[in-house]
């Protein structure tokens, strides 16, 4: 048992070390600065600039958070503070069901629903022409994917708010909304931040759904209707060629390492905030 526990816990380190070990060849050839800052991606010439991919990831993640966060906070507030208990019991299962849907299904939905929506209804108002495959499409699909994660955490956080604190504000003659705006949200802020950080890290690593709708063009996006090429999609799309071109496998493993490090950090940060919050509320 001890062995299994130690082994699975150390998986965190083993994965990190393994990916780093495989990234050494490319790190010997190019500096971190070159790898992260350059936009030139020519595997045949041994040039690997990750900048467009990093920007692609940042764009889709950013769009996803901008869409999902306000929607989810409002939803959680409604579910926890306003909805009658019967409606609450009716609504929560759907959020859970949404979290069970596999990424590839989100991708299919993105292709069938979001892409045409952007192509025919949204994009024509802003740009001359768009196929629909864009960082916006990726962002929307990702946003829906992280709905359940944010809603469930924010729900938890809101439920730990003491009734007496709400009563204190209400007793002063504040309306429920004023209480939420000035007291609850302020008190819940660390929890909301933790949920956001966790959602960002989930969005960062999402692969297949984003790959299917982003267009996968290795240029830095300048508007939401531009195509983008997020890091995970890069790894997934090129695994086939990776053994045939020198350093290519090392470059892709470096991409995986990059994802791993960022997500590890974000996860640790949010978990620490959440555990602290839990302890403070309990104590």
């Amino acid at each position: 048992m001890l062995l299994f526990t130690v082994a699975s816990v150390s998986l965190v380190f083993i994965i990190g070390i393994g990916l780093y070990y495989k990234s050494i060849p490319i790190l010997n050839k190019l500096s971190w600065g070159q790898l992260l800052g350059s936009s030139v991606w020519k595997p045949f010439k041994g040039l690997f600039g990750f900048f467009p991919y990093i920007m692609g990831t940042l764009w889709v993640t950013g769009i996803a958070i901008v869409i999902a966060l306000p929607l989810c906070i409002l939803t959680s507030l409604y579910i926890v503070e306003y909805a009658p208990s019967r409606l609450r019991r009716f609504l929560m299962p759907f959020v859970n069901l949404l979290s069970g849907i596999p990424p590839v299904i989100f991708g299919v939905w993105g292709v069938l629903f979001i892409i045409p929506l952007i192509q025919t209804y949204i994009a024509p108002h802003f740009v001359e022409y768009s196929t629909g495959y864009s960082v916006l499409a990726g962002g929307i699909v990702l946003a829906v994917m992280i709905f359940p994660l944010i809603v469930s955490i924010v729900n938890e956080v809101l439920r730990t708010m003491p009734q007496e604190l709400k009563d204190a504000s209400l007793a002063l003659g504040a309306t429920k909304w004023e209480t939420i705006k000035k007291v609850i949200l302020r008190k819940a802020l660390p929890g909301i931040i933790a949920a956001t950080v966790l959602a960002i890290s989930r969005a960062f690593g999402e692969t297949i759904a984003v790959l299917m709708v982003c267009g996968n063009n290795a240029v830095v996006p300048h508007s939401v209707f531009d195509t983008g090429y997020p890091l995970p999609a890069l790894i997934a799309n090129n695994y086939g060629d990776m053994m045939s071109i020198p350093l290519y496998d090392s470059a892709l493993m470096f991409a995986a390492l990059l994802l791993f490090i960022i997500i590890l950090l974000f996860n640790i940060i949010s978990r620490v905030i959440l555990t602290r919050l839990e302890r403070r509320m309990a104590g």
Partner: protein, 254 residues
Amino acid sequence: MTFEKPHISVQGLNVQIGDNHILKDINIDIPNKKVTSIIGPSGCGKTTLLKTFNRLLDNTSDVKITGKVLVDGENIYDPNIEITHIRKKMGLLSQRPYPLPMSIYDNIAYGPRIHGSPKKKDLDILVEEQLKNVGLWEEVKDRLNAPATRLSIGQQQRLCLARGLAVGPEMILGDESTSALDPLSTHIIEDLFMKLKEKYSIVLVTHILRQAARVSDYIIFVYMGKIIEYGPAEQILKNPQEQLTKEYVKGYIV
């Protein structure tokens, strides 16, 4: 007990939460500018009774309230009533202090800001006045912008009292307001109640008989969701009429 001009008049009040019949046919009058204490064993419904006075039960799920509660002659359970106005009339002091997650100054200013947009100068005066009212001014005047949670529990409770007074209520509702405090802070709060009854009607829920004896003009004894006896403090504590009250006052019912 009946009074000529009661501040609160409860008529035929029944409260059910789920299948629990918490309060059964309550009829009482609360006098103006006196201290009235509600006593009774824990779980008897005394806190629930207090919360019906400013409709804080509204947020409990599956709650059913029937009957009338008249405040200044106005039924607060009338569907057309403006609930925030009713609550503004009553300052609440809960079991444990719950300072709002903001500075000392903002805690006091919270209520006035909600009910209007007071000028900074007026607010400053009001904050100072209310903090002096509860004897906290000297202790905190140099750190008004510090988070309220940095104060000691006793100080926090006085801050909560000042916060309630800042909206200009007519009445103070105390729900076992000293149960989390040390003896000295308890003493300070009790003294404040004695001082404040000149201007405010005060209703206290307590399970400490000696506290009820120290501060009350009138006492209501509640048992199993019913009013058993109601009268002047002296009479209830020294010469109760009902058997249940006698037993409670002697400490047989806890």
